[in-house]
Structures are given as C-alpha cells and as structure tokens.
Subunit: 116 residues, 2 copies
Amino acid sequence: MEPPYYAVIFSSQRTDGDHGYAAMADRMVELARQQPGFLGVESARGADGFGITVSYWATEADIAAWKQQTEHLMAQTLGRERWYAKYSLRVARVERAYGHSLQTNPDDTEPQSHRA
Amino acid sequence: MEPPYYAVIFSSQRTDGDHGYAAMADRMVELARQQPGFLGVESARGADGFGITVSYWATEADIAAWKQQTEHLMAQTLGRERWYAKYSLRVARVERAYGHSLQTNPDDTEPQSHRA
C-alpha cells in the first residue's frame, strides 16, 4: 500500500492488572481485520505499562466506521473506565513511508501484530 | 499544540543485545529536544523487541532538518547496520487529536518519553 493512507496513533498508560484487557485487545485486532479499509496494525507495550498501537486504514471514512463498530464502542467505554490511566488518540494522514513496506495481506501483517 | 502538526512513526524490531543502543536512544531524545519544531516523543518497546517511537514536529521542514542532523545521521547508519533487524518509518500529518493533549513543555513531555 502506497501513501497516502491513514494512521490512528493510540498511546496509553495501562492501569495495573489485566481485568480482561488481553482478551479484549486480541478481539479488537480480530474485529479490525474484518473492517473495510483495514491495512494493518503495529503495537508495542513496555514493562512500565506505556504502549503505542498504530492501525492503518485506507480512508478516513473507514476509521469513522471502525470507531462506531458496536463491540469496539463497548471496548472504548471499558478502556476509559478500567484499562487506561491515560491515553491519547491521533488521526494522521501518512504522506511518505520508508523501510519495509506496509503489509496488506492479513497473514503478512501477523508478525507486526503485537498485543498492546 | 493543536493539529495540524506532523508525526514520524518509527517501528522497529531490535536485534539481540544492546551494542550501545540504549545510550544512543537516550542521546537521540536529548538531541531531538534541542531541534527547532520538536513537540514531543512517545516510545514503547515490548519484551519481544518490537517497538514503536512516534516523534511530533511542527512542520515537515523541522523533520527534514532533524533527519540531516550530523549525530542523528550516524545513529541512522548504525541502526541499519547493527540495532534493527527491520524497521519502517512513516511521516504523517496529524489531523485530529483526542484524549490528553500533547505536551509542549519539555519537562511535561518527560513522562511520555519512554526509551524505545
């Protein structure tokens, strides 16, 4: 996938304990893959509980649709109430990309899909 | 800082061992803070060695200047040769931001500056 495309940059500080978080995170990646315009996801979280997840989408409309997905809405609510001490979310238009290219085959994105 | 501004999304898979990486990472954050247009940085790396660093900049010209900074150029070369098994770098224009706002005071960004 060549730019331009869109990135959702989600950075967050986890609260202590799992409280269903890991299962939700896996489920959200599974659901996102089924959404129109989903291009891939990358995620990393350190031992200090600070993490960054970047998901990539073909259009802003695809991001809006994912934001409104029913099960995702529930996860957003639980995230604010339970899982995150703080977070920020940014929507950005990718203008240029270097290095290994973004994988568009869901199987190929697997190595980049690290649980947040 | 309100959008629009720019994000450099750097995702990478570390090789095994430190090989001077941690000291370089700290030094690059220290140098970036001194660059014109630097707004902040967020970074996370998991135990599997996959990490994401997002730095934020006022303009694309600021990013171009940082890319050409002498000591940073040396780090880029060593990164390709020694520290990263693979990486990707994307330049994106942040259109919207939610949650806690991006801190512009260097002292305030400290809690978000996690070593990659």
